[in-house]
Every structure is written in structure tokens, then in C-alpha cells.
């Protein structure tokens, strides 16, 4: 059976070049970078080269990069580390309603432990208002965190403007760039950020590796204690093969980004337009055009439920994801779709296709061939579709 992976926002395959480089560091150059012998030193050199590659990709200095076990840990370190370091300056924090759980849950932990939290709303496209940010900033605000691009609906926030504002007001500005890295330009200076989170497994690097950019001069209280690795910001034997893989993945992404973004944008629009053409009662979630990640398609298919769609797609080899509650084990559907003002019943039928490096027009056309049949079959089973048609007929 044809297998079409369209869930690159969840995770990506490791690029073969990255994987084979990692192999060398797993089996041959396996030294501990803290060791002074040549096994250790060759690992250390490669580790520092990776730091340069990551830093270079986001316009940072190598010394400003702290490697972590992933985007989640980097988000936690940024939020908890800065909140603790600057607690004497103030206790007010700001974030948005559409952040990843790694940000939201972390802020909520702080909100339960002596901090005050403002969660900014978004409009129906998932976009933040710069004015709204401005109004939320108070004299005791110490930290503001806004994601660069949303993982569910692909909305790209006006981060550079928000950063300018934060800098004016002396508020530390953190950006979660996990989804934007490798898809649109991410530069810590252009975006006026103080801290920025990136994750390797979203850009064809290995899982279990991420990094936090921390602008020189920003203080952070560490979250992990031990051998004092990563300049005491993050103890633990360094995951050198993983980090080296991440570095290589950054180098490859940097070289390919412009071409890939153009190609992905084409596939994205072909898929989105094709769905709208072929299936009735479908709504596009998130902005269209330049304010949307080049690889994100998100639609709500009314009168059917997301998990059923995913299972049916999977049965014909198509891997996608959904904001349906049923895929997460919680009762509420995606907090992002709800924050955009979408009714629960429509949010349940949302479907995300996230395109990647390997995808082709044939992949897209295969989805366009399969999805209408699936939707039709599920709608035939759906008491809601039934009801809607009866009501429409009665009119």
C-alpha cells in the first residue's frame, strides 16, 4: 500500500545524511566530551561545531546556545528559569491562548505558585494583536512568551513587532520557534527576541534534542543540577550524537529552506484548494497566504469526527493529525481551535496535514482522491449530517 506521511508537524524522519553522521558518533567517536583524552576531544569538537551550526541558523552566537533534550525542556527552562531569576523584578507573566502545552502548562504551574498570568486571546484566524500585547504589559511584567508559528493552524505571529515592544518596555521576550524553524526565516536579531526555543525532530534531525537560545546578559536559574555541563545551565552527559545530528540538520535546512518553502507552499495550496473543491461543508482553519506556514493545511470537515477521519485515512496509508479531543484522551477538542472561537462540534472534525521534504504532487493528489470517499462514507453514518440535510430539505 502507498504510504503518505503528512504529519511533519508532529515529527519528521531523520535525514539520511544526518543519520549516518550520527552513527559515527554512536559507534566510533563515542567519547564523553568532558573527557580530556582524544575520544573525548573529538566529541567535544563536533559538539561545538554543532553549536555553531545551530547558532548560525538563527543568527546567534554559539555561546548563546544551550542544548536540551527537546523543545519541551527548552520551553520549560526559558519560562521557569527566567521567572525564578527575575522574580524580584516582578511577578507578572504574559503568554497567548494558542501556545503549545509545553508553554501553557508551564505558565499555569507558575500561576499556581505565586505568579500572575495574562493569557492573550487571538482572532478567528489564530492571530495575535500587537495592540493587545501592548495593553497587557504592566510595570511588573517580567516575561512575555509568544510562539512564532502555530503548530495546529500554521498562523505566523507578528513576533518582530511584539519583540520591539517588549524591548521598549524592558520585558524579557521568549519565542517558541519549534514550528517555524526551517520553514520561514528565524533570526533572533530580526525578531528582537531574548530567548528562543528550537527542536531538532521537527527539522529532520533526531528526537530528544532541542536548544534554547539565551541572549548574552539574560539570567536563568537552571532546572537540572549535576556535572555543570552547558555552562551550568543544563547538567547531564551531553547527547553528542543527537546534538551533532541537530547541527547537521540545521545546516541542511539552512541550505534548502528557500527552495523547500516554495515547493511546500505550492503543495499546501493544491491540497487546500483541492479539498475545498471536492468536499462540501469544509472550513479552512487559520490564515491563508503569507501568514500561514508553507507546510500547514488545516480544515474542519463538518458532521464527521476527526479520529474517524484519521483512522480511515490511515487505512489507505495516509498519516495526518486532528485537533479532535478523541485523539488526545481529553474531553475538549484543541485549545487552539477553541481559542479561535470555533464551536466544539466543528473543532472535533478538524484535520491537519503537515507537508514535508519528501512529499510530492502525487501524494497530494492521492489525498484528494481518498479523502472525499472517506468523508462521504462517514457522513452517511453520521446522525448530524442526516439532521442537517433534513433541516435543509425542510426549508
Amino acid at each position: 500500500m502507498r504510504r503518505v506521511y503528512l504529519d511533519h508537524s508532529a515529527t519528521t524522519p531523520v535525514d539520511p545524511e544526518v543519520a549516518s553522521l550520527m552513527m559515527t558518533y554512536y559507534t566510533e567517536k563515542y567519547g564523553n566530551p568532558s573527557s580530556i583524552h582524544s575520544f573525548g576531544q573529538e566529541a567535544r569538537e563536533a559538539l561545538e561545531k554543532a553549536r555553531e551550526q545551530v547558532a548560525g541558523f538563527i543568527g546567534a552566537q554559539p555561546a548563546e546556545i544551550t542544548f536540551t533534550s527537546g523543545g519541551t525542556e527548552a520551553d520549560n527552562l526559558a519560562i521557569l528559569g527566567a521567572a525564578e531569576a527575575y522574580k524580584d523584578k516582578g511577578k507578572h507573566l504574559i503568554t497567548t491562548a494558542v501556545e503549545h502545552h509545553a508553554i501553557l502548562e508551564t505558565f499555569e504551574f507558575l500561576a499556581k505558585n505565586g505568579y500572575e498570568l495574562t493569557v492573550l486571546p487571538v482572532d478567528e484566524e489564530g492571530l495575535l494583536s500587537v495592540d493587545g500585547v501592548q495593553r497587557a504589559i504592566r510595570p511588573d511584567t517580567i516575561l512575555l512568551s509568544v510562539m512564532h508559528a502555530n503548530n495546529e493552524v500554521g498562523a505566523i505571529q507578528p513576533v518582530a513587532e511584539i519583540g520591539r515592544l517588549a524591548r521598549e518596555k524592558g520585558v524579557i521576550f521568549h519565542v517558541d520557534a519549534v514550528q517555524s524553524l526551517g520553514k520561514i526565516p528565524v533570526n533572533v536579531n530580526d525578531l528582537n527576541v531574548d530567548m528562543l526555543t528550537v527542536s531538532s525532530h521537527k527539522i529532520y534531525g533526531p528526537k530528544g534534542v532541542g536548544a534554547l537560545y539565551v541572549r548574552k546578559g539574560i539570567r536563568l536559574v537552571p532546572r537540572v543540577y549535576g556535572g555543570g555541563q552547558e555552562k551550568k545551565r543544563r547538567s547531564g552527559t551531553e547527547n553528542t550524537p543527537g546534538i551533532i545530528g541537530f547541527g547537521k540538520a540545521c545546516e541542511l535546512a539552512q541550505a534548502r529552506m528557500a527552495d523547500e518553502a516554495a515547493k511546500l507552499t505550492g503543495l499546501r495550496d493544491r491540497l487546500m484548494d483541492g479539498i475545498l473543491e471536492r468536499i462540501d461543508f469544509v472550513k479552512v482553519n487559520g490564515p491563508r497566504g503569507a501568514k500561514r506556514l508553507p507546510n500547514n493545511v488545516n480544515v474542519s470537515v463538518q458532521y464527521v469526527e476527526g479520529e474517524s477521519l484519521l483512522l480511515s485515512l490511515d487505512m489507505v496509508g495516509i498519516a495526518a493529525s486532528s485537533g479532535s479531543a478523541c485523539t488526545s484522551g481529553s474531553l475538549d477538542p484543541s485549545h487552539v481551535l477553541l481559542a479561535m472561537g470555533m464551536p466544539h462540534e466543528i473543532a472535533h472534525g478538524s484535520l491537519r496535514f503537515s507537508l514535508g521534504r519528501q512529499n510530492t504532487e502525487e501524494d497530494v493528489d492521492y489525498v484528494l482522491e481518498q479523502l472525499p470517499k472517506i468523508v462521504e462514507r462517514l457522513r452517511r453514518m453520521s446522525p448530524l449530517f442526516d439532521q442537517m440535510q433534513r433541516e435543509a430539505g425542510a426549508k
Binding site: E305, E307, S308, C326, H344, M381, S382, P383
Partner: protein, 126 residues
């Protein structure tokens, strides 16, 4: 995630559809929660002669709906009232823990349909 049996019932659901002028119709769930099951019964004497369903919901919701219609077809009402949500899940070889509460309501829908049947009988008598 799901057992083979669940996937079989999801892929080839038995008894999808409706029964015009059904003797009993039961519906549980609500679209906000992402699950609605509607069951139609055709009852002759004490026996469930035919049963159909329509479901909006996840794989478990569809599969339990399908399964419960199979379990109940040809059974007496008393036997049907004995079927629990847990029995449906068991007949499917189990469900993932997070599906046991919210998507496993097919027996409830069945019981609601039987109640509807009784209510209609009462009215007819009344």
C-alpha cells in the same frame, strides 16, 4: 491502539442506517463532546427484529455502535437490557483506557431506544 475487532467494526460497521417509523429510537452523547449515537429498533412482540445505527464519533464510538447492534439483533428486550457498555467493550476485545468512559455509550443508546419503545407503547395505550 485499537484491537483488530474494533478496527473491523469501524471499517465494516454492521447495520448502519435508519429504520423508517422505528418502534424505538435512542440517542446519547452530544456534538460538543464529539460523540453522538442514535439507535433504531424494529420490535416484534418481545423480540428485536431489526436494529440500525447512525454515529458521529471516534473509532471506538463507531465500533461499539456496530457491535451493540450485532449483539442485540434477534434478542428479547430483557436480554437487550442486560447488555452493558462494559460487555460491548469486552466483545470488542477491549478498548483503550481513555475510550472507556466517553466513547463507550452504545449500550446506553440501545437502552434509550428501548425506553423510547416503552414510552411509545404507554402513549399508544394511554
Amino acid at each position: 491502539m485499537y484491537t483488530e475487532k474494533v478496527m473491523d467494526h469501524f471499517t465494516n460497521p454492521r447495520n448502519v442506517g435508519e429504520i423508517p417509523d422505528a418502534d424505538g429510537v435512542g440517542e446519547v452523547g452530544n456534538p460538543k463532546c464529539g460523540d453522538i449515537m442514535r439507535i433504531y429498533l424494529d420490535i416484534e412482540g418481545d423480540t428485536i427484529k431489526d436494529v440500525k445505527f447512525k454515529t458521529f464519533g471516534c473509532g471506538a464510538a463507531v465500533a461499539t455502535s456496530s457491535m451493540v447492534t450485532e449483539m442485540v439483533k434477534g434478542k428479547t428486550i430483557t436480554e437487550a437490557l442486560d447488555i452493558s457498555n462494559a460487555a460491548v467493550a469486552e466483545a470488542l476485545g477491549g478498548l483503550p483506557p481513555n475510550k472507556l468512559h466517553c466513547s463507550n455509550l452504545a449500550a446506553d443508546a440501545l437502552h434509550a431506544a428501548i425506553k423510547d419503545y416503552y414510552d411509545k407503547q404507554e402513549k399508544a395505550k394511554g
